[in-house]
C-alpha cells in the first residue's frame, strides 16, 4: 500500500470515528442559559429586566412556529421578547411524544428551562418524585411580584398540589371555574336527520336515545349511529347515569367511604348502555381501533349521526363539513344534544379542575433566570395576553364596536399566519378559555364559525343555568398519598373498551377488571385516602 493510499485510508477512518463520536455530542443548548446585555431596563411592571436572558422553552409544535414564513415579523412575539428582555430558544415537542421526551430529558439532565406536562394530577407519583429529587424548581413562597400566578396558586382547586408545603408547577388554566368545562364533553348530532325521523328535541332517557338512533339509521342506513372524537370520549356516556365517572380520575363517596368512581357498582349501568350501543350496531364498530379524530371525521363527512366531542370553531372542520355535505347549511343541520336525566332527575354536565396540565421549571435555572421566566409566564397567564392572542393588536387586527371586538382582518388574513410564533406558543401558560366564555373574543370573520360560536355560547349559558355539574370532590381527586399516587388510571379507558367489546356480562367483566386494580394497590389507596380525608375533615 503506497503512502497516498495509507493517508487516504487514515483520513477516512478518522472521519468514520468522528461520525461515531458526533452522536454523543451535546446540541449546545445547555439547560443553563447564558445572558447578554440589552437596552431594556424594565418590562413596564417596574421589575428589572436590564440584562437579556436566554430561556429554552419547550412546547408542542413550537419549532413549527419559529420555522414558519413570517416568523421574524411576528410583532406580538417580538414585543413579548422585548418587553421582558428575553430570548426564547424553542425546544420541539409534539402531542405524541411529549411525555416520553420529557422523561428522557429529565433522566439525562437535559430538561429545557420551561416545559409543559400533565403529571401533577395524572401522575402524582412522578410529580412528587421530581419535586423531591430536585428535578423541578419550587415556586417562591412570596408570589406578590407575579399577581396572575399568585391568583392561580391561591385557587382552592390548586392548593392540594403542594409537595412538602411548596408548589412545583403552575397550572395552565383552561377556564376560571371547574363548572365551565360544560362544553368539553359536547354531544354533536345531526338535528336535521333527527327531525326527519320525528325527533325534535334531545332525548329524555337512554331508551329514547336508542330509539332516535335506530329511527335515523332507517333513513340513513349507511351512517354510523355514534362516533367518538377519540376513545376517551366514551366516558361521555356516564353523564346520563353516573356523572362522576365522566371524569375517570374522580372519586365518589359510598357507604361513608371514598372510592375511585370506577370502583363503584354505579359504573355498570353506563357500561351496559355502551355494550347495548355496540352490540346493536349503533356505536362505531371501529371505535377501538380508531386514531384520534377518526370519529369526528366521519361526522364531518356526513357518515355519522351523533359524535361525542368535536367542534366547528375551526375552519378545517367547517370546510370538511361543507365538502362532505354539499348544499347543507351547518346551522340548520348540526346541534348540541343535552344528555338525558340521571336517576335523580337531574341533567349533569362534565366537570374538571379548571386546568388539566401544568408548566414546570428546570431546577438548574439560576434565580435570575427563574425570576424572568416567572415574569414572562405571569404576563402570558394574564387576560391582556389572552386578548392579544385571540383578538390580535387593537386597531390593527380588531376594533371595539358597541362593546364587541370586531375583526379588521381581510378574508385572506388570519392571526395564525400573521403571528406564527405566537400561534404555536400562546398556550404555554393558559388556554384562554376564560376570555372566550366571557364573550370577549373577536367575532370570527367566517360566518359559519361565528354562528357556531354564538350557538355554543348560548348553549353554554343554558346548560350552566339549567343543569348540574358532575358532583366531584376535587380535594379528594387531587389528594396525594403513596398508594393512591402509584395507582395509575392510564389503562382505564382500555379496560372499558374491552368490556364493551366483550361477550360476557359487562358487570361481571368489570368485576374482573377491578381484581387487576386490587393487585395494583387499590385497597391500600382507598384506606390511605379515607384516613387522610378523616384527618382533613373532608
Amino acid at each position: 500500500m503506497n503512502k497516498n493510499k495509507q493517508t487516504l485510508l487514515l483520513a477516512v477512518l478518522m472521519l468514520a470515528v468522528t461520525t461515531v463520536f458526533s452522536g454523543c455530542s451535546s446540541d449546545g443548548n445547555s439547560a443553563n442559559s447564558s445572558s447578554a446585555p440589552a437596552d431594556n431596563a424594565s418590562n413596564g411592571t417596574g421589575q428589572d429586566t436590564s440584562k437579556n436572558i436566554k430561556l429554552n422553552v419547550s412546547f408542542m409544535g413550537i419549532q413549527d412556529g419559529f420555522d414558519a414564513p413570517g416568523a421574524a415579523n411576528d410583532t406580538i412575539f417580538n414585543n413579548l421578547e422585548k418587553q421582558f428582555n428575553v430570548t426564547l430558544n424553542p425546544v420541539q415537542l409534539t402531542w405524541n411524544d411529549y411525555m416520553e421526551k420529557t422523561k428522557v430529558w429529565a433522566a439525562s439532565g437535559q430538561l429545557p428551562d420551561i416545559f409543559p406536562n400533565v403529571i401533577a394530577v395524572d401522575n402524582q407519583a412522578l410529580y412528587a418524585s421530581w419535586a423531591k429529587q430536585g428535578i423541578i424548581k419550587p415556586l417562591p413562597e412570596d408570589l406578590s411580584k407575579y399577581p396572575n400566578i399568585e391568583r392561580i396558586m391561591s385557587l382552592p382547586s390548586v392548593t392540594p398540589l403542594k409537595v412538602d408545603g411548596k408548589f412545583y408547577m403552575i397550572p395552565r388554566m383552561t377556564y376560571n371555574d371547574s363548572s365551565d368545562w360544560i362544553m368539553d364533553r359536547p354531544i354533536l348530532y345531526r338535528k336535521d336527520w333527527a327531525s326527519e325521523a320525528g325527533f325534535t328535541s334531545s332525548p329524555n332517557s337512554f331508551d329514547e336515545f336508542v330509539a332516535m338512533i335506530k329511527a335515523v339509521k332507517k333513513l340513513h342506513p349507511e351512517a354510523v349511529g355514534v362516533t367518538l372524537e377519540n376513545k376517551s370520549y366514551i366516558d361521555t356516556q356516564f353523564l346520563g347515569s353516573f356523572p362522576e365517572m365522566a371524569n375517570s380520575k374522580s372519586w365518589t363517596k359510598e357507604e361513608d367511604e371514598w372510592i375511585p368512581s370506577y370502583d363503584s357498582p354505579r359504573i355498570n349501568e353506563g357500561l351496559k348502555q355502551l355494550r347495548t350501543l355496540y352490540s346493536e350496531g349503533l356505536l362505531d364498530k371501529d371505535f377501538a381501533i380508531q386514531k384520534a379524530s377518526d370519529g369526528t371525521s366521519k361526522f364531518l363527512n356526513g357518515q355519522s349521526f351523533v359524535n361525542y366531542g368535536g367542534t366547528f370553531s375551526t375552519f378545517a372542520n367547517v370546510d370538511a363539513f361543507h365538502k362532505g355535505n354539499p348544499g347543507v347549511n351547518l346551522s340548520d343541520a348540526v346541534g348540541l344534544m343535552s344528555i338525558w336525566p340521571a336517576s335523580d332527575g337531574k341533567r349533569y354536565t362534565f366537570a374538571e379542575t379548571p386546568y388539566w396540565s401544568e408548566i414546570y421549571f428546570n431546577n438548574k435555572m439560576s434565580d435570575e433566570q427563574f425570576d424572568r421566566a416567572l415574569q414572562l409566564i405571569d404576563f402570558m397567564a394574564s387576560e391582556d395576553y389572552s386578548v392579544l392572542v385571540k383578538n390580535g393588536i387593537l386597531n390593527v387586527d380588531y376594533k371595539i364596536e358597541n362593546g364587541k371586538a370586531v375583526s379588521l382582518l381581510s378574508s385572506d388574513e388570519s392571526l395564525a399566519t400573521k403571528y406564527p410564533v405566537t400561534n404555536t406558543l400562546n398556550a404555554l401558560a393558559q388556554w384562554h378559555g376564560a376570555l372566550y366564555k366571557a364573550g370577549k373574543t373577536v367575532l370570527n370573520s367566517n360566518p359559519d364559525i361565528a354562528a357556531w360560536e354564538a350557538y355554543d355560547q348560548e348553549t353554554f349559558k343554558k346548560f350552566k343555568a339549567e343543569y348540574t355539574p358532575a358532583p366531584i370532590n376535587f380535594d379528594i381527586m387531587l389528594m396525594s398519598t403513596p398508594a393512591k399516587n402509584k395507582l395509575s388510571t392510564s389503562t382505564l379507558i382500555d379496560d372499558m373498551v374491552n368490556t364493551i367489546l366483550g361477550e360476557d356480562d359487562p358487570a361481571a367483566m368489570w368485576t374482573k377488571v377491578l381484581k387487576g386494580y386490587e393487585s395494583k394497590g387499590l385497597n391500600d389507596a382507598i384506606k390511605e385516602v379515607n384516613d387522610k380525608a378523616k384527618e382533613l375533615g373532608i
Binding site: 407519583a125 429529587q133 381501533i289 389503562t491
Partner: protein, 319 residues
C-alpha cells in the same frame, strides 16, 4: 508444589506466546484492523457501555442522581414485575407469538427461495424477487394504516364479505383474527427479504450438479431434495439459531402500530409492555428495566441453548 509452579510457568509462557502471535497478526493486518475499528468503537460506545443501565433493575431510579447514584432497592422491582398480571400476559404472548413466528414464518423464506430457484431460467425471477422484496421497505407505521384501512368496518375486507352476503367482521378487535393478521402481514412484508440469504446460498451451487442429476433422470423434486436442500441446510441452521436467540422479541414495530386495547390479551408482548410501563404508566424506569433484563437473560439462554443443540445433534456448524 513444584509441578504446580511448573504448570503455572508453562501456562504463563503459552499465554505470552499467544498474545505475541496475536499482536504480530494485528500488526501484519493493521489496515484491516483499522477498517474494523470504527465499528468496534461504535459497538463499545452504543452497545456495551450503556449496559451499565441494567443496574436500574436493582435500584429505585432517582432522576437527579442518575443510574449509578440511585439508591439500591435490591429485588423490589422484581417483586413488582412478578406480581403484575400484565407482565405474565405479555410474557405468555411473547412466547406464543415468537414460537408462532418460528413455526409458521421461519420456513416460508426457505420455500420461497427454492421456488424462485425453480423459475430461475425465466426472466420472471427478477420481477418476482423485486415484488417479494419491496414490502420490506414499507415501514410498519405506513403498513399498519393500510391494514387498518383494509379491515375496518367500511374497509375492503368487509365490503367483500358484504358482497357475498356474509356478516361484517371486526378482525382487528378479535384475538384470533388479529393473530392471523399478525403472521400473514409479517410474512407478506418480510418473506421476500429473508429469502435473499437462501438465494445467495443457492447461487453458490454448481449448475453442473443439476445437469448431472438431470442426466441421471432425477426429477425437480429429487434435485431439490438431493442438491438444493443440503446446501441450504447450514444457512437455515445459522438463521434458526439467530431466530431462537431473538425469540423474546415478538416484533415491537409491527405490534405497537397494529394493536389496540381490545386485543392486549393476545398481542401485548414484553416490548410493548415495557414501553407502556416506562412512558405511560406510573411504574417507572426501574420496573421496565427489570422486564428488559429478564427478557435479555432468557434470549441469551435460548441463543446458547439452540447453538448447542444444533452443533451437538444437527451436525451443522453453529455460530
Amino acid at each position: 508444589m513444584e509441578s504446580s509452579t511448573q504448570l503455572e510457568y508453562s501456562g504463563k509462557t503459552t499465554a505470552r506466546r499467544r498474545s505475541g502471535i496475536l499482536w504480530k497478526e494485528i500488526v501484519k493486518h493493521k489496515y484491516l484492523y483499522l477498517l474494523l475499528a470504527p465499528l468496534v468503537i461504535f459497538y463499545i460506545i452504543f452497545t456495551y457501555i450503556p449496559m451499565y443501565g441494567v443496574l436500574l433493575a436493582f435500584k429505585e431510579f432517582d432522576y437527579s442522581k442518575g443510574v449509578l447514584g440511585s439508591p439500591w432497592n435490591h429485588f423490589a422491582n422484581f417483586n413488582a414485575v412478578f406480581g403484575n398480571p400484565g407482565f405474565w400476559t405479555a410474557f405468555r404472548n411473547t412466547l406464543l407469538i415468537s414460537m408462532g413466528r418460528l413455526i409458521i414464518e421461519f420456513p416460508i423464506p426457505i420455500v420461497l427461495a427454492i421456488l424462485l430457484n425453480e423459475i430461475s431460467k425465466g426472466r420472471l425471477t427478477r420481477v418476482f424477487q423485486t415484488v417479494f422484496t419491496f414490502p420490506h421497505f414499507i415501514s410498519w407505521v405506513v403498513l399498519s394504516g393500510i391494514i387498518i384501512g383494509i379491515f375496518n368496518d367500511q374497509g375492503l375486507y368487509n365490503q367483500v364479505l358484504a358482497l357475498f352476503g356474509a356478516e361484517k367482521s371486526s378482525v382487528l378487535t378479535s384475538g384470533p383474527g388479529f393473530t392471523i393478521v399478525l403472521f400473514v402481514s409479517n410474512i407478506w412484508k418480510e418473506a421476500g427479504w429473508s429469502c435473499i440469504l437462501y438465494l445467495a446460498a443457492i447461487a453458490g451451487i454448481n449448475l453442473e450438479l443439476y445437469e448431472a442429476a438431470e442426466v441421471d433422470g432425477a426429477n425437480r423434486l429429487q434435485q431439490m431434495k438431493a442438491i438444493t436442500w443440503p446446501v441450504l441446510k447450514s444457512t437455515a441452521a445459522v438463521l434458526f439459531i439467530l431466530a431462537v436467540g431473538n425469540v423474546m422479541n415478538g416484533g415491537f414495530d409491527q405490534i405497537f402500530n397494529l394493536y389496540n386495547s381490545a386485543v392486549y390479551a393476545y398481542s401485548d408482548i414484553l416490548d410493548t409492555f415495557v414501553y407502556r410501563s416506562a412512558f405511560t404508566d406510573a411504574t417507572g424506569f426501574g420496573f421496565s428495566t427489570t422486564v428488559g433484563l429478564l427478557k435479555s437473560v432468557i434470549n441469551f439462554t435460548l441463543l446458547f441453548g439452540a447453538n448447542y443443540i444444533v452443533t451437538r445433534f444437527g451436525k451443522e456448524e453453529g455460530l
